[in-house]
C-alpha cells in the first residue's frame, strides 16, 4: 500500500513536471516551426502542424542574402543596431556602475545613504514619465533617431540595478585584502583596479549578462526614440513588421526566433547569474 502511494506520487510528480515543460516549450516551438514552414502549410485549414518540406529561406536570406534593400536589409540593420546598443550599454553600465558601487560599498561620504536610496528609487519610476521629456531633450540636442540616444537611455534605466548588484558583490570581498595592499603602498585607485576588479569577475559577469539581456529586450525607449531605420532595434523592426496588413508569417516568425536567440542562449548558459540577478533585483525592488 505504502509503495503504491509512493509510485502514484512519482507519477503525479513527473506528470506535473512534464506539464510545466510543455507549457513553456509548446508556444515557443510553434514559433520555431512556423519560421521553417511553407506559407501554404501555415495557412491551411485544417492546419498542418508539421510542414511537408522545411523552408529555411528566411534564415538563408538573413545569413547570406542580399542586404542592399528590402525586408532583409531592414532586419539586418535592426540586428546590427541591437548588438551595438546592447553591447555599448553593457560596457558603460559595468564601468560606471562598478565604480559607483565601490564608492557605496567602501567609502564614507556625505549623504551616502540618501544618494543610494535615491538611485534605487529611480529604478521603479515608470519609463513613460521619463520618456516624454527625454524625447523633447533628445530632439533639441539632435540625438533623436541616433544610436547614442538609445545607449544613454538604456544605461540610465539599467544602471541602478548594476550598482545594486555590484555593491552586494563588493560587500562579499574581505576588506582586509585592500587594507594589506594599502599598507604595502598601493594607492586607492590601485587597489580598485588591482585587487577589487580582478576579484569581481563573477560579479561583473553576472551583471554584464543581466544588463545585456535587458538592453537587448528593451522596446519602449527604442520605439519612442527611433523613427528612422538608422537607430531602430530589432524589436522595433519586428513590431512594425507584425502590424502590417498581409504580413508574411514565416518571415515574421523567423525574425522573432533570430531576435530571441542571443538572450535565450545567454540565459540558458548562464542560468546561475540570471538567478542571482533576479534575486538581488527583487530584494531591492
Amino acid at each position: 500500500m505504502v509503495s503504491n502511494n509512493k509510485k502514484l506520487g512519482r507519477v503525479l510528480l513527473y506528470s506535473a513536471v512534464l506539464l510545466v515543460c510543455l507549457g513553456i516549450l509548446v508556444p515557443y516551438s510553434w514559433l520555431v516551426i512556423s519560421s521553417v514552414s511553407q506559407r501554404v502549410d501555415l495557412t491551411a485549414v485544417p492546419l498542418k502542424w508539421i510542414p511537408n518540406t522545411f523552408n529555411f529561406e528566411n534564415y538563408r536570406q538573413i545569413a547570406i542574402g542580399d542586404s542592399s534593400s528590402g525586408v532583409n536589409a531592414t532586419l539586418k540593420s535592426g540586428l546590427l543596431n541591437s548588438v551595438i546598443i546592447a553591447v555599448s550599454a553593457t560596457i558603460f553600465c559595468l564601468f560606471a556602475g562598478s565604480l559607483a558601487a565601490y564608492a557605496f560599498s567602501r567609502l564614507r561620504f556625505h549623504a551616502k545613504n540618501f544618494v543610494f536610496s535615491f538611485i534605487l528609487l529611480t529604478q521603479v519610476m515608470p519609463m513613460i514619465v521619463l520618456i516624454i521629456p527625454i524625447y523633447i531633450i533628445m530632439s533639441r540636442v539632435g540625438l533623436l533617431n541616433t544610436i547614442p540616444a538609445l545607449v544613454i537611455a538604456d544605461s540610465a534605466f539599467i544602471l541602478p540595478l548594476v550598482i545594486w548588484l555590484m555593491r552586494s558583490f563588493f560587500e562579499s570581498i574581505p576588506r582586509e585584502l585592500e587594507e594589506m595592499a594599502r599598507i604595502d603602498g598601493c594607492s586607492r585607485f590601485g587597489t580598485i583596479f588591482r585587487i577589487i576588479f580582478p576579484l569581481s569577475t563573477p560579479g561583473l559577469a553576472a551583471s554584464g549578462i543581466f544588463t545585456f539581456i535587458i538592453a537587448w529586450n528593451e522596446f519602449f525607449s527604442a520605439l519612442i526614440l527611433s523613427s528612422t531605420i538608422k537607430s531602430k532595434t530589432i524589436s522595433v523592426i519586428i513590431s512594425e513588421f507584425s502590424s502590417k496588413v498581409g504580413v508574411d508569417y514565416v518571415a515574421m516568425a523567423a525574425a522573432g526566433v533570430i531576435a530571441s536567440i542571443p538572450p535565450v542562449l545567454f540565459a540558458l548558459i548562464f542560468q546561475k547569474y540570471i538567478v542571482q540577478g533576479l534575486t538581488a533585483g527583487a530584494v531591492k525592488g
Binding site: 513553456i24 502542424w49 567609502l107 524589436s235 534575486t279
Partner: protein, 303 residues
C-alpha cells in the same frame, strides 16, 4: 580606517574619491532620470500640444482636473486594476506551486530549472508576436487546435472581442512573467534549512501541516515582495498591449500606461500625457514606499 595623511594625494580623501567614482553614473542618472522627472512635472502643468501652435501655457492643475473628468481614463484605470490583480494573483500562486514542484527531487531537475528561465529571456516583442500569431483569427494555432479537438466548430476572432482580448493579454503576461516568481520562490525555498523539515518529520507532522506551518510562513516575505513588485510592473505594462492589441478592440485592453502613450505620442498632447504619467508615478512611489516598509519589517522579524 585611518584618516588620510596630510601629504597624501587628493584621491586618498574618501569624499573626493567617492565623488569622482560617482561622476559617470550620476551624470547619466541626473540627466536621463532626475532632470526629465522634474521637466515632466513642469510639462504636466501646461497645455503643450505639438499640433497646436502657441500651446505650452501654464494652466495649473487643469490637466489633472481633466483627467478626473475623463471617462476613458477611469476605464483604463479599471482595466489596469483587473489586469494587475489577475496577473499578480495567478503568477504568485503558480510561482509558488511550480517552485515547490521544482524543489522536489527528480531526474532532469537542473534542465527543467534552466528551461523555466526561457520565457523571461524572450524579448517582449517576440513574446507579443508569438501569442498574436497563436491567437490569430484566420491561421492561429489556438483556433486550429480547438477545432481539430472538436471543442469549437468555427474559427473565432479571439482578439476581436474586448473581454477575450483582455484574457489573452493577461495570459501572455502570465506566461512570460511567472518564471520570475518561480525563480525567486525557489531561491527562498533552498535557503530553508533542511533540519527544520527533519525535525518536523521526527515529530510526525503531516505534509500539509509542514507546508502550512513551516514552508508558508518562511516564504511570506518573498511572497509579499513578489506581490508588490509585480503590481508595480503590471501598472507599467505597455509592450504586450502595443504588440498584441494596440489597446483595442474598442479600448477593451487600453490600460493606464498605454493610454498615456496614446495621449502623448499619438495625439501629441504632451501636457495631458505628462499629467497622466505623473499620476502613475505617484501611484508607483506609493506602492514602493509600502514595499520598502514591508522589507524593513521583514528584516526586523528575521533579526
Amino acid at each position: 580606517m585611518p584618516r588620510a595623511k596630510a601629504n597624501s594625494s587628493l584621491f586618498e580623501r574618501e569624499g573626493v574619491l567617492a565623488f569622482t567614482l560617482l561622476i559617470p553614473s550620476m551624470l547619466v542618472i541626473l540627466g536621463v532620470l532626475i532632470f526629465p522627472l522634474i521637466t515632466s512635472l513642469g510639462l504636466s502643468f501646461t497645455d503643450l500640444k505639438l499640433t497646436k501652435p502657441k500651446s505650452g501655457v501654464f494652466i495649473g492643475l487643469g490637466n489633472y482636473f481633466d483627467a478626473i473628468m475623463d471617462p476613458i481614463f477611469w476605464a483604463s484605470i479599471q482595466r489596469t486594476l483587473i489586469f494587475a490583480v489577475s496577473t499578480v494573483l495567478i503568477e504568485t500562486c503558480m510561482g509558488v506551486a511550480i517552485a515547490l514542484l521544482l524543489n522536489q527531487k527528480f531526474v532532469g531537475r537542473g534542465f527543467v530549472r534552466g528551461l523555466v528561465i526561457l520565457p523571461w529571456a524572450l524579448p517582449y516583442v517576440v513574446n507579443g508576436i508569438m501569442w498574436k500569431w497563436i491567437f490569430d483569427a484566420n491561421y492561429g494555432a489556438f483556433n486550429a487546435a480547438l477545432t481539430q479537438l472538436g471543442i469549437i466548430e468555427k474559427y473565432h476572432i479571439w482578439l476581436g472581442d474586448p473581454s477575450t482580448a483582455m484574457i489573452l493579454v493577461i495570459f501572455a503576461n502570465i506566461w512570460k512573467e511567472t518564471p520570475v516568481a518561480i525563480i525567486l520562490v525557489l531561491a527562498a525555498l533552498q535557503s530553508i534549512p533542511a533540519d527544520l523539515y527533519e525535525a518536523a518529520a521526527i515529530d510526525g507532522a503531516k505534509r500539509v501541516k509542514i507546508f502550512t506551518h513551516i514552508t508558508l510562513p518562511l516564504l511570506k516575505p518573498i511572497i509579499i515582495s513578489l506581490i508588490i513588485i509585480k503590481t508595480i510592473w503590471a501598472l507599467k505594462e505597455f509592450d504586450l498591449i502595443y504588440i498584441i492589441t494596440k489597446g483595442g478592440p474598442a479600448n477593451g485592453t487600453n490600460m493606464f500606461s498605454y493610454y498615456i502613450y496614446q495621449n502623448t505620442f499619438q495625439f501629441l498632447n504632451f501636457g495631458y500625457g505628462s499629467a497622466l504619467a505623473y499620476m502613475l508615478t505617484i501611484l508607483t512611489i506609493g506602492l514602493s514606499a509600502i514595499y520598502m516598509r514591508s522589507l524593513k519589517g521583514g528584516l526586523e522579524i528575521e533579526s
